[in-house]
């Protein structure tokens, strides 16, 4: 049975070209870039090249790129850097729908002397901009707003927000882990101070990420150690993964158009095919301001983990915002923030595609999923057959 991988917001396969780029770093160019001999310089050169490639996709300067181990480290680094740079400021502004890397950091800081404000979203997952502007204060040390939501794919107007924040002299960070490589980002045309990204979300390897730090931004390292990354992140460089990330960024730039045309079309085809065939199903999130590869669909009156496990039996990989899959007892904080009712929040499934997916795979899911939903609904005490009233309306 073939695996149909529709969970690319969770992680992606490393592109074959990325693997080819990485292998020599483990076998041939394995020197420590900090060493003094020519042999080590070869590794250093590859890091230099990767930094340039990553800068190119962001239209940034290579010296504005700090390599890290993952998106979470990049997020933590950005938050700590901002609050250390402004020790007198004790307020943080973020959203109610952030990834746990920011959400839990906010919770931690709120228990440690900081006031954290979470900007709400509407039923489509769009930010309440009035609330956002009303809660910027002179005490705000940092604003951290994700570029694209990992569960719904909904994108936020980061350029507009960053411009307003800049006018107030406040540090602006964005967790762009889901956005980089999927939609164009031009750092020369926005006022974002720091931006987080992750290698494994754009067909690079796991265990490597980066933080863009705009030149002139006050910065202090999160990992304190050696002089690596110009003193901004201690620790021997993960040369193979950094080279892989550089290559992945280069490829993402090449595939950006395909991502926004062919992949978008596949996503739309999947979405329409399922919504048309399955009653009481609805798309979660704004369908206009959204990543081209992501759809989040709720199937009312059944539970997400059951859907995923039955899909798994058919070789289909996806994610759910249900309580049972998250390891908690409550459904996705993103869907609840949007006001998605429990009937639907527990039965949400996220499909996230990539350039490696095909129409045949989409057709297979469209064919196989409706009977799964039907079967689970037949077991549900809340499903009364075709006459069941849908709680959610399009």
């Amino acid at each position: 049975m073939n695996t149909i991988y529709f969970d690319n917001n969770a992680t992606t396969c490393a592109a074959p070209e990325v693997v080819d780029e990485m292998l020599p770093m483990l076998t041939e160019f394995y020197g420590n870039p900090s060493s003094m001999y020519k042999f080590a310089k070869k590794a250093g050169d590859r890091i230099h090249e990767a930094r340039q490639r990553l800068a190119d996709i962001l239209n940034a300067m290579p010296e504005e790129i700090v390599f890290t181990s993952c998106g979470t480290e990049s997020d933590s680094t950005a938050i700590w850097a901002a609050i250390r740079a402004n020790p007198e400021k004790r307020h943080i502004l973020t959203t109610r729908v952030e990834h746990s890397a920011i959400k839990n950091m906010g919770e931690y800081l709120s228990h440690n002397g900081y006031k954290v404000t979470y900007v709400p979203v509407d039923s489509r997952g769009n930010l309440d901009l009035d609330y956002f502007y009303d809660h910027l204060t002179n005490d705000t040390a940092i604003v951290s707003i994700m570029w694209a939501n990992n569960e719904t794919g909904v994108t936020f107007p980061i350029e507009e927000l960053a411009q307003k924040v800049k006018q107030r002299g406040i540090v602006f960070h964005t967790d762009a882990v889901q956005a980089v490589g999927k939609i164009p980002i031009d750092m020369s045309k926005n006022n974002v101070d720091m931006l987080s990204l992750s290698g494994h979300k754009l067909h690079g390897p796991k265990g490597v990420g980066a933080l863009y730090v705009r030149k002139g931004t006050k910065f202090s390292p999160f990992l304190i150690g050696g002089h690596q990354e110009s003193g901004r992140r201690g620790g021997t460089e993960n040369t193979a993964s950094i080279a892989g990330l550089g290559k992945a960024a280069q490829l993402a730039a090449v595939h950006m158009e395909e991502e926004n045309t062919r992949v978008r079309k596949l996503r739309d085809s999947l979405e329409t095919g399922l919504i048309d065939r399955i009653p009481c199903s609805i798309i979660n999130g704004d369908t206009k301001n959204r990543l081209p590869n992501t759809t989040n669909i709720s199937f009312e009156y059944i539970e997400g983990e059951s859907i995923l496990l039955m899909m798994d039996e058919l070789g289909i990989c996806a994610s759910s915002g249900s309580a049972c899959t998250s390891g908690s007892l409550e459904p996705s904080h993103v869907l609840r923030a949007m006001g998605v009712p429990f009937t639907a929040a527990h039965g949400s499934v996220r499909f996230s595609l990539s350039i490696y997916n095909t129409q045949e795979e989409v057709d297979y899911v469209i064919e196989k999923l409706p009977p799964v939903i039907e079967r689970l609904r037949a077991m549900s005490p809340f499903w009364k057959g075709p006459e069941t009233e849908c709680e959610i309306k399009s």
């Binding site: 250390r84 002397g113 202090s220 304190i224 059951s306 309580a323 049972c324 459904p331 549900s380």
Partner: protein
Amino acid sequence: MWEYSDKVKEHFLNPRNVGVVENADGIGEVGSMSCGDALKLTFKLDENEIITDVKFQTFGCASAIASSSALTEMMIGKTLSEAEKITNDDIVAFLGGLPKEKMHCSVMGQEALEKAIACYRGVPVEEKEGEIVCECFGVTDLEIQRALKEHNLSAVEDVTNYIKAGGGCGKCHERIQELINEFKGHEPVIDKKPEKLSNIKKIKLIEETLEREIKPALKKDGGDIELVDVDGSKIFVKLQGACSSCSAAQITLKEFVEKKLCEFVSPDLVVEEVS
């Protein structure tokens, strides 16, 4: 991903006795949409009170469906008094185990069975009594006490795994711990709200904490610290020795000094450096 036994997978993928028994003698419904799982259990008896037919409908995860399916298998052919003895532990054993975080699925089965039998006997199911402890999942102190007793639980996490209490916002953890302590025969926990400190008491406590907890650690690295002033919850200090020129001074101040003072003096304290 959860580690499910083969038997759980088998009962999830091929559940037995799905549906509703027509003209059922007993009906038990537990759970709700908002809780994330629900079970409706219906059965029919013959003249000897032997269960001849039993069916379930479940809204929930693989564990919930498998637990419900297993329960029906265990019930069928038993007399009512035999079925009455089935516990959630029996359901778990039948399935070859469940992840600890999923124990509440088996508890749901036991509760549905109790309700269905009570329904048959015409015993009114008592509305929840006692004081609501967990508002997220509507769990009372009596229900927690019952779970503690029946399963000999000893940690908040266990209570959450079995009956969900404490699995939401977490505000009730302290109260659950109190109930655990009472059950274990400990002294009831006294509400440890920090007393309002007078300025003199606060300064004295700060100085004691600096001397006992903070200075020895700083001195090991050639540094030191001096209390300069206290203004409400703000504490002004001066770093000395190696600390005064250390690039990580702000981290030391926030991550070590401030945390220690919050721990030993008052949780709302903010430490600031003066030059």
